[in-house]
Symmetry: D2
Subunit: 384 residues, 4 copies
């Protein structure tokens, strides 16, 4: 199978997530990394490009150079997919011209910083017909796909109550004042947008909730806090939710929970059973049934849904992790591109789409709106 | 040491919790069970008394008979402590005359069904000077005492965020329509009061939260649901809380979470560390410190607080459970009685008091008030 | 139901295990503790008796006094059961005359220190017809009974491989030189017999293995070590076993494993599934079936064997522990006594018997024999 | 950094482990996969090469073709490293000529099938000076490196007892009779050599034990079994070990443990503490210290050894798994090659070497020798 050509904007060699994108892209030998404008300054962009061994003529100083440079190439030599791995505030301005120029896109989350931008992006994607995937990478885990499949199959009946948590501890202190790069832009409204923790990780929690349950949020009541002195964006959120089928949910997000590593967890309770999954031990999923039985399902084990097995690479007991889940986003985009070009008859799985991205941005806005009004209820009229 | 004489009201031999009280009372050889009015009908009271081997002349048909019968005995033959193990609605009417007659009391939770009753009880206790313990038995676990001691010692700094959950699944279906006795009265407003799950187990969660953190609740926003059709009281609650030092908390309670057994858990995050404890594995407590270290403390292990070790009976690795925690309430009441009589110089530990009971009833009322107003914020002006 | 009268030899108020026996005895209101010769010196025996509130005329200075004193009483006032809670070396000399005098016995493990003594005890029990239970208390856990029931039912097919471990860390250092009482006698051949760790806890592991699997040991190869300098008995054992159906087993025992609390665990692999249980989390049992499914069974949950439920007191999620398992030995002995007297038609469960005790002593001897011969294979011809 | 050119022998697109090698090789962008003789028949070799997108002129029908083809290329175009991913019986005949021709090698385990072959390989490696890594991939996990570093630092004192287990369930039935490819060759003495489970996974356990402890095996007593009818090689092993410092160990290996996925675990007990690690949850390591404290160390967390952090790619809580550990072997070989060529001043970590391979083969032989002699002790005089 011909490899697709990948270009990257942001994600230079001092950004943890850039390396994840590159590893995820090549894991299945579906992409080769050929071009990049890897940092926010020309100097660092060039340095990163050299350090990562890109061909000289495809190390770009800026994303505009890359747009021009790649457009100038014959169609069959251009990058097939552009990954946008920058701070949130520049996603839209970068993505729009690339979309308009017909490049397929993988975009970090939150997709953009306002619903207005999000709508423009969605319109552009529809207009141009490019494949556009948003990096809600946690939805790429095989056992998350299994959870969704079990919900769809009716294994736990009608959903009543959902608990989704995303707790970290790395911002419990004012790390941003030390020059730590990851922290600095995430707590800066100019670069992160109106959401702190709620934007950085809350949107993952929201996507996990809606993706697995298949339900929409209809109302929310959010209490946001900035616990660390002088921090301008929230670092903690507690949110009550009402879902489209009458179910209730509680979504909590925090980056000040000392001792928590990257604890994203989902528990779904239906009238016929329940499901529980934890990102830090992603290879298993617990299902309880109405008869009171409790079973641990293992990735690679028997009896799983086809989409779960498609998302899984190794036999049971051989732990898969974060990179493999991420790679499933890349693989889904690759499949989408090949399908669009007629090289693949069917698409075995879909990445999170621009519509998931739109919904994520709306979520952040509604949460901030609720919080600013004193943690009061906000109706929620997004459509999916 | 002379054993104290225990009488019991309710808790007949078809009630699970009655057997727990009796086992807890005798575990440390501090009580002998000598009298009872064990059920709501005279016939069943007598049958239970005989089945449990009480002396003929102390098997009472009704609590009123017991009050009279015991008062008639010479002071040194009377029951020293009366346990009230009935549905909530009759706690007050039983407790008040016993208190006024000078009997020490152990009372199930929620203490009573209205704040008005609670105030009367508190006044009666103060007037009479009896020892009065409320069965917030989960506070009796050694590692809960350790958590409280660690908070007091400053081990986790100033508390910022607390998560307390109490999730069960046994009422996920309409068990109450099958004649199951435990279920029937708990979902009946006439016997349970205004709270369903929030009264039955939410009050445990509230007591655990305030006891361990030492903080007061200042405001709450509660979303209550009755998921099971035709159920008149809540079987699920999601509550946002604001605490006295500016901390935030999320308290969730549910009895419709299929697969959950009796999952009471507490996670406390301070600016200097965090604590996590789970009732289903009560012999351990996790502490994380600001330096990122994660340590598992074991009951019976080294370096614990004196009150933790006092509450513990067995060496580490020899699991203690529910009954031992319950027995710690009984032992604390016994110590209180002996101290009042001058037979004990100091009291090594305190049971949950009538003031905890008052606070628990207020909590239920505020939660229901908030929920009825559409899950809006209610200020919280109880004092402890 | 009339309570049985319990007398105790050893287990004075400075012995942890004495308090466990007393709590276990009264937990179900089946016994009252009325008499004792509670220590190895008359002074301490009398002091313990007073401290524990025994009636003056039944506080005995020595076990011989107790034997005489109780025999002199009218039959219906005598102790019904005598618990022997002393170091191993005096079990036989105490038990024999009590058995011959018709007293029912509960005896700590290992039952005696030599097979010769064990045979005498077994013969005496048979001759006298008394009820005799050995404190293999771990077999009293409900989920251990469930494991045995599942094996009998064929749920895991023919057993192929068994792993049983009993690892502790409390003797990793030379605690015995500090005067610590528990340690002192356990490492002293004069009081403990020929086995150190293998006698103290290895015999529990052996009993758990054979009780749950229903298989006999046919050969063993044992490597014993005394890791702590100057310790005269083993503190660590690694043993290969061959079982009666061709299954193999590995039994490891250690008291020098720093960090291990009281980690007794059992894993049984059959050709149709497997079972796993751990004493430190005793309320659950894992079963895996040939189809690859993994299920967690919970004490108090649905679908368990009658003997499991009979051994269980609390609803699921309300942790039971060490004392409840211990109490199941006491309850089984009480049932046996009542049955013998015609007061109970059937016996719902059996305690570990004198034959389990015989087998345990033989196990220790074979292990030591193998180890002394350089960890070579020893055939095993005990019969049960 | 210039990428190294990788060729592969075996590991065609129907072999799970081939895909793992390829993913591991490219994860860090240190290798590009350019050549292969990917299967045991020319037809399947060519088909796999095409399917995997190798350049036409480097898809070889046989390893001999590849040897010749690559030798003919100019030195700077040749493959830098050859991965040997075939059944065990052909490792030696393939590796030797490649070594002699100066190619660097990554070889699957067990390295070869006899000690005679192993010695030849070791001699060839020494003669030629190539870099030679053996795929003891579990040693590549960061927290395994941390365990080794902690042992070296004295954190747990002198090692006394080690438990190493490697339990799987996938061969509990006669899978080999169904044509399943993974099973077929592993149970066939002609292709696997004299060891079944002991060769396939026992050698991993042995390597983990000796790598982390730094101790040599001095004697062993091994009981091997073939539980599945008609299976010619062992599928289960129980082994007692004596180590070079007087420590004892128990090593158990099984492929008939239904319910076990890929459960490799290591517990090391010293006189100053203990360590525990489990491959299925590889991102954490438990350390207990002599003071009784129990701490969970997290990959990516604070206070770890430099070699641990070097082996880690993601922040804490972002699970790394099997492929990352495998990739650490590839990265170490790449570093070795670059260092040999003067392009890297120091080598940050070493892969398992030909000497580890020699030791692994000797282990299998000694185990089989012991088992054949009736599970008797065999002295162990290999040197490392």
């Amino acid at each position: 199978m011909q490899k697709l050509k990948l270009g990257m904007i942001g994600g230079g060699n001092d950004a943890f997530i850039g390396a994840v994108h590159r590893a995820a892209a090549v894991l299945d030998a579906r992409f080769e990394f050929v071009a990049g404008a890897l940092s926010s300054t020309p100097e660092r962009s060039l340095a990163s490009g050299h350090a990562l061994g890109l061909p000289e003529d495809r190390i770009y100083a800026t994303w505009k150079d890359m747009l021009e440079g790649e457009r100038r190439r014959p169609e069959n030599e251009r990058v097939d997919v552009v990954s946008i791995v920058t701070p949130n505030n520049v996603h839209a301005e970068i993505a729009l011209p690339f979309i308009d120029a017909g490049f397929n896109i993988i975009c970090e989350k939150p997709m953009v910083t306002t619903s207005a931008e999000a709508a423009k992006l969605a319109a552009a994607v529809e207009r141009s017909g490019v494949v556009f995937g948003v990096c809600y990478n946690y939805s790429g885990y095989p056992m998350v796909k299994e959870a969704a499949a079990l919900v769809r199959s009716g294994a736990i009946g009608n959903i009543r109550k959902v608990f989704v948590e995303y707790h970290q501890g790395w911002l419990a202190d004012n790390l941003e004042t030390t020059g730590q790069k990851q922290a600095s832009w995430r707590v800066d409204p100019a670069r992160a947008g109106i959401g702190g923790a709620i934007g950085d990780i809350g949107t993952h929690a929201e996507n996990l909730l809606t993706t697995v349950t298949g339900l929409r949020i209809e109302a929310l009541c959010a209490d946001l806090t900035s616990f660390v002195p002088d921090r301008r964006l929230d670092d903690d959120a507690s949110i009550l939710l009402r879902l489209s089928n009458g179910a209730k949910a509680v979504l909590t997000v925090s980056q000040i929970c000392i001792g928590e590593e990257n604890n994203l967890s989902l528990r779904i309770h239906g009238d016929g059973g329940s499901l529980a999954w934890r990102q830090e031990e992603p290879n298993h999923l617990t299902i309880c049934r109405a008869d009171g039985s409790r079973q641990i399902l293992a990735r690679g084990g028997p009896g799983l849904a086809p989409e779960t097995n498609h998302a899984s690479r190794l036999p049971t007991g051989h732990p898969e992790g974060f990179i493999e889940a991420f790679a499933n986003i890349y693989r889904a985009v690759a499949d989408g591109v090949l399908h669009k070009r007629g090289a693949l008859a069917t698409i075995p799985s879909m990445p999170p789409t621009v519509h998931d991205g739109v919904q994520g941005v709306a979520f952040i806005e509604k949460v901030v709106q609720s919080a600013k009004a004193g943690a009061t209820w906000v109706q929620y009229h997004t459509t999916q």
